[in-house]
């Protein structure tokens, strides 16, 4: 890859990392608040995994940019203004009720399996290697969220109603998953999979799975913002909270 392509791939990976980081942060908000102890543990683990995966992508981006991979993740996470993050609005939305968080995690995990499979075939070897590793770990997420989506979708009247409401609210935002990531258009074939194609495969899969769980995808709804430079009103507060301690003393040794 030439320098321009390396920069494009770094941009792509930072967007991936931002999604994982912000979703991980939202999941961490369930720690101590989940409806049952097992799910408290599960969501804390989901949060930890997503943030760990974000770190791997930030480090890979650092290598492409030729900067210090030990410092880059913290710089990106704690010292970037909210407007510079490239996460989707899907992951920024407040955690909502437990149905909302569970369903969002399922939709995201199901998409990630498609993306990671594509990335594991990347001709950029360091990327393919990390993708295999992350995909194996993510299998546990998908297995967990699938089980809960089915259980809640086919559960009580209330659990079904909450899941359907969550699906109706999330669907417009989930479309953002199909939009090309930053840098994607500038990369030669074979480095990353095409987001639009992943989205089509994902939509087939989740439509069928959700139908079995008694949930119905809403028809064509107003399209929510899919541009990754445009953040929801929730993003600034999230970033302020996430960065608060680090910014108190940027030079602190932990």
């Amino acid at each position: 890859m030439n320098a321009k392509q390396k920069a494009a791939l770094a941009e792509y990976l930072i967007a991936l990392a931002d999604d994982e980081l912000i979703l991980g942060h939202r999941n961490s908000e369930w720690t101590g608040h989940a409806p049952i102890l097992e799910e408290d543990i599960a969501f804390a683990n989901l949060a930890l995994d997503e943030i760990g995966h974000a770190r791997l992508w930030y480090e890979l981006a650092a290598d492409l940019l030729g900067v210090d991979r030990a410092r880059f993740p913290d710089q990106q996470v704690f010292f970037r203004p909210a407007a510079d993050f490239r996460s989707l609005q899907l992951v920024e939305l407040p955690k909502g009720d437990w149905a909302f968080s569970m369903l969002r995690q399922y939709l995201f995990d199901a998409f990630e399996q498609h993306r990671l499979t594509g990335l594991s075939e990347s001709s950029h070897m360091p990327l393919a290697e990390i993708a295999v590793r992350v995909r194996n770990e993510e299998l546990y997420h998908l297995r967990h969220t699938r089980a809960w989506v089915t259980r809640l979708g086919l559960g009580t009247e209330e659990s079904q109603a909450r899941m359907q409401a969550a699906l109706n609210a999330l669907c417009p935002y989930a479309r953002g998953l199909g939009a090309a990531l930053p840098g994607e258009a500038d990369l030669p074939l074979g480095i990353v999979p095409e987001s639009a194609a992943l989205y089509a495969a994902w939509l087939d899969e989740v439509s069928a799975f959700l139908a079995e769980a008694g949930l119905k995808l809403p028809g064509e709804t107003a399209l929510a913002e899919t541009e990754r430079r445009a953040h929801s009103e929730h993003m600034a507060a999230l970033i302020a909270e996430m960065q608060e301690v680090a910014r108190l003393d940027p030079e602190a040794e932990w």
Binding site: E38, I41, A42, A44, N45, L46, L48, D49, I51, G52, H53, R55, L56, M125, P126, E129, I130, V132, R133, V134, N136, E137, L139, Y140, R143, H144
Partner: protein, 168 residues
């Protein structure tokens, strides 16, 4: 005239591996980092020893402690300038855990990860034997546990909860 001190004899590779086999896993101190398959390779960069490790789960919080513990373990051999290198390829697999370590996990009440030969989803459908009573009448309670690498089961026979090391 300044006499240069003679360089201390470099410990043998066997001595280094033996020292590393004394470094316990921070969260499962009954097994060490060598038998878990985390320490992959030794090499030298001039006079500096390089130990290559492959972390288990990407988000394992013990991973930085492991690096510190490795350096401390090797200082006892007089190796002051060791460097720990992290390698992700090939990704760590639970298939790398030695037979001895699997027995130690079992003895500590932690079910060892089932052998999967690359097919995780199929092996997760198989029954898991209770590490205490050996019964296969067990139920999964949570795909997540007290660390990223464990999941929680209950034995329907002896009624004890237990954890299994996740196959990866």
């Amino acid at each position: 005239m300044v006499m240069s001190k003679p360089a201390p004899a470099r410990p043998s590779e066997a001595e280094i591996w033996a020292a590393l086999a004394e470094v316990p896993d921070p969260e499962m101190p009954f097994v060490n980092l060598v038998e878990l398959g985390i320490v992959r390779e030794l090499g030298w960069d001039g006079g500096r020893l390089q130990v290559t490790i492959t972390p288990t789960f990407a988000a394992c919080p013990a991973y930085e402690v492991m690096q510190t513990d490795i350096l401390a373990g090797l200082q006892a051999l007089g190796l002051e300038e060791t460097e720990v290198l992290v390698r992700h390829n090939p990704p760590w697999s639970s298939e790398w855990i030695s037979a001895g370590a699997r027995r130690k996990l079992q003895a500590a009440g932690l079910a060892p990860p089932p052998r999967h030969q690359g097919d995780l989803l199929t092996v997760l459908m198989d029954p898991v034997a209770c590490p205490r009573c050996g019964s296969e009448q067990t139920s999964l309670r949570n795909s997540f546990g007290t660390t990223p690498c464990r999941m929680i089961y209950t034995c329907n026979d002896c009624q004890e909860p237990f954890e299994m090391f996740k196959p990866l």
